[in-house]
Subunit: 495 residues, 2 copies
């Protein structure tokens, strides 16, 4: 039976993914500094084994045969995802993939060096090389998938998402935010005029902050018998569903940014820990994609963690661990701080989408050939001035050189961040419709009903549905900007 | 060129070994408790991939072809080890290996449970199953290798070692120790009568003990940029040569046992860190075998770490980290403590060899069919009474159920421990012949010349030579008991 062969292949691929995931997490947390070269060599070789096994020509025959076998409903769902993976992995020639990998890696290395030096001219030729290959990639993928060029790239991160659906929603959000950022800043200024921002600074040992983080993780549902918290330079959620590795970094002078980071990664971790275990070795058992994943991290960080109800419950826990008796009036202005800035990763939830929409618009033009890399500094600056009133023209390091994504060839990824924020708001809205006392739950630190809703509607579904279908089934609505806009208005707007 | 194919195979196998080594070390140190099932599944699948790739039939053709190619001297040496590995991996049918793995794993699991309950009768049938398969294994290996049954098992751990060479040396050592244990105990008693043993107990935080351990590791040559120290339930040395993971366990009431454990594992680690890097992906680039490995750990633990000169240097460092000003008269009686006991892993360097020789004698009889598992409790007890004057007849948990080795089918492994101790003494003797001021070096904490000798004679040689040949080349002598006996006499004997 061909399904059986695919099932066995799934176990082999799962073992290699397990090794790559743990080796990757280990590299960022526990590896000796001198172990990097051999680690890179081993992971490269294992990734090659994975690719060779996952793209073997006989799989095409197994898929074709399995599709006409009598299968259970879940086996049929598994086959759909097996085929999607196989198509995406095999639609680029091996020679092209190798050339692209080398070009991207060289450009990423160059980026690390030249961003620090603000050297756009030095970086440009390498970026042009990556863009040229990304255009080739988009053309090949679009041809196989029967979709548009940029849609073919989005499909790699968020299966089923299409520009035709996203662009109008982003347009509405952009038009709202271009005014609303000013409103939110004015509201904030008015409040701060009445009551000055009280710094949360002090001395908070890493041990105490770690205990606080673990307590919060456990409270919001993280299963500490299937995961752990470590330290790394850049926070991440890695590992495998049976052993999810999340990380943070600490400053001993300030606790809030680390704690919010822990909550964000905990959101990713809850998704991984609660994926359907019986499908763990099938593609359909994996998380749906980047936008849904980000919706889960932002749900915990923004919908729960920046909800004032959360702090009613959390402040005594903070006090217990750090010995500081903050009041709601002390903490909320920090949790809801809004600021116009140049840097996406430092942005708050009000300004963040503008950073993303800027990139979404520019990368479409790049992929579809309407914009060249040489024109990026001006194009970036024009949008930055229009959306946030800031200029980057003399500062490409904080303009088009700001993120590693393009250097690494990850076009079509950026929209996931804001789609995730919108989907989180839409999920919260649906959840509170069926469970209106969610805020009271949070204020008591009871996340049971909230997590049950998420488990049933998101986590347990794995990759059963396309990104838009998963959202529709969970919330009863297609993706739209209403819930996120309402969320921002309520939290940040004038009364 | 066939050598090239073997070279590429070596890189693939090295990547899988890297994954298995890091996943194994991670499991014992950082894995979430609930991650074990999936980890076992992933490691089992990866081990299967390793086995399938390492035993592919075409490798036989590559080896035959490479052996007649024009090769450099080091390539020729590489081929010898490639062939040895291939022969050892392929001389058992896959069906047999699978059956044996299952039988061993079941017996090990049973052992964990039944040893705690001292239930020999419950354990016996499982052990009989393992022994029956070990006899089959020995017969098949002996046939292919053209050696005796037990020699075929020793060969898996220490290539080139043969009973004909070991047994006379063990016989001499046994005959010496049967009297000498009493002498050493009498000497100790006399000394303790003059000066009571001063307990080294106190409160030593894990953090401080860890810092002390790291300082000692670095001082004796551990490269902290290519390795690390963690905590695990059972101390071990794992990981890969570019990132050696050693572990210890701590009691906060006592520091010496943990520190000696760290020194022991550091000895293993120095060997791994200093193997020839250019051969890392060839079998010839790996450590020679268990006896040589143990000679390296015991060299650091016993020849260096229990040398009084070592403590002249180490006591101020201990004081710096733990705040305790012990004198030489305080510490040496602990470092040189001798005690007749039932348990091998708790034994000192005087009594330890008798534990090993007992097992060496019994396992020959088991493998060669002169002894059955049912007879083990009596046979064990008889030798225990003869060698150490202790009885285990009512206590099989501390008799033949004491170690996991037999449950796990690892026959031929036990001699490595005492061969390692003898080889360490023989190396120390050769080293001090060419470098008579070694004791003064140690008393100053200068391990440069000592490590240079070891790097040149042992570490850099990888698996270039058989176990006895490596020792002969390093020390100018065949394995013999003289140096170890002299070492024990000097350290523990009557003046």
């Amino acid at each position: 039976m061909s399904f059986q062969k695919l099932d066995e292949l799934g176990h082999r691929l799962e073992a290699l993914e397990h090794a790559l995931a743990i080796l990757g997490a280990d590299e960022a947390t526990h590896m000796a500094v001198g172990g990097g070269d051999k680690r890179a060599e081993a992971m490269g070789t294992l990734a090659g084994m994975y690719h060779r096994q996952a793209t073997a020509p006989e799989i095409a025959d197994w898929l074709a045969a399995a599709e006409s076998e009598a299968l259970s409903e879940e086996q049929s769902a598994a086959i759909v995802e097996f085929r999607r993976h196989y198509t995406n992995l095999t639609c680029l020639p091996a020679e092209f993939v190798e050339r692209q990998t080398n070009t991207r890696m060289r450009c990423e290395q160059l980026w690390r060096d030249l961003r620090a030096k603000n050297d756009w001219a030095g970086f440009l030729p390498a970026l042009e090389g990556v863009i040229a290959l990304a255009r080739e990639e988009a053309a090949m993928r679009a041809d196989v998938l029967g979709v548009g060029l940029y849609d073919a790239m989005i499909e790699q991160h968020d299966p089923g998402n299409r520009m035709a659906d996203i662009s109008p929603v982003f347009a509405e959000l952009k038009s709202f935010l271009k005014d609303f950022v000013g409103e939110a800043l004015a509201v904030q200024e008015e409040r701060l005029a009445k009551r000055r921002l009280k710094p949360l600074s002090g001395v908070y040992s890493i041990d105490k902050q770690r205990e606080l983080g673990l307590a919060m993780m456990a409270a919001v549902g993280f299963d500490l018998s299937h995961g752990s918290l470590s330290i790394s330079h850049h926070p991440f959620c890695g590992g495998v569903p049976s052993d999810v590795r999340i990380t943070t970094r600490y400053k001993t002078t300030e606790f809030l940014s680390s704690l919010m980071g822990v909550l964000h990664e905990t959101g990713h971790a809850l998704y991984e820990q609660n994926l359907p275990k019986q499908w763990a070795h099938w593609p359909v058992g994996k998380a749906r994609g980047m936008a849904v994943h980000e919706s889960q991290s932002l749900f915990v960080e923004k919908q729960l963690g920046r909800n004032p109800a959360f702090w009613q419950w959390a402040l005594p826990i903070v006090e217990k661990h750090l010995g500081e008796a903050w009041t709601m009036d002390d903490i909320i202005p920090h949790v809801h701080r809004v600021e116009r800035g140049l840097i996406r990763v430092d942005a708050d939830e009000v300004t963040y989408p503008l950073h993303v929409i800027l990139r979404y618009e520019l990368e479409q033009d790049l992929i579809e050939g309407r914009l060249e890399a040489t024109q990026l500094p001006e194009a970036w600056d024009a949008k930055m001035r229009e959306y946030l009133g800031l200029s980057t023209i003399d500062n490409p390091a904080d303009g088009p050189m700001q993120d590693v994504h393009w250097a690494g060839g990850a076009f079509g990824y950026f929209p996931s961040y804001t789609l995730g924020a919108m989907m989180a708001a839409q999920q919260w809205s649906a959840l509170t419709k069926s469970h209106p006392q969610a805020d009271e739950d949070i204020a008591r630190g009871d996340f049971t009903a909230i997590n049950n809703w998420r488990r049933q509607n998101i986590w347990s579904q794995g990759s059963r549905w396309s990104t838009p279908e998963l959202l529709l089934r969970a919330t009863g609505e297609k993706l739209n900007a209403d819930h996120f806009i309402n969320h921002l208005r309520t939290r940040y707007g004038a009364a």
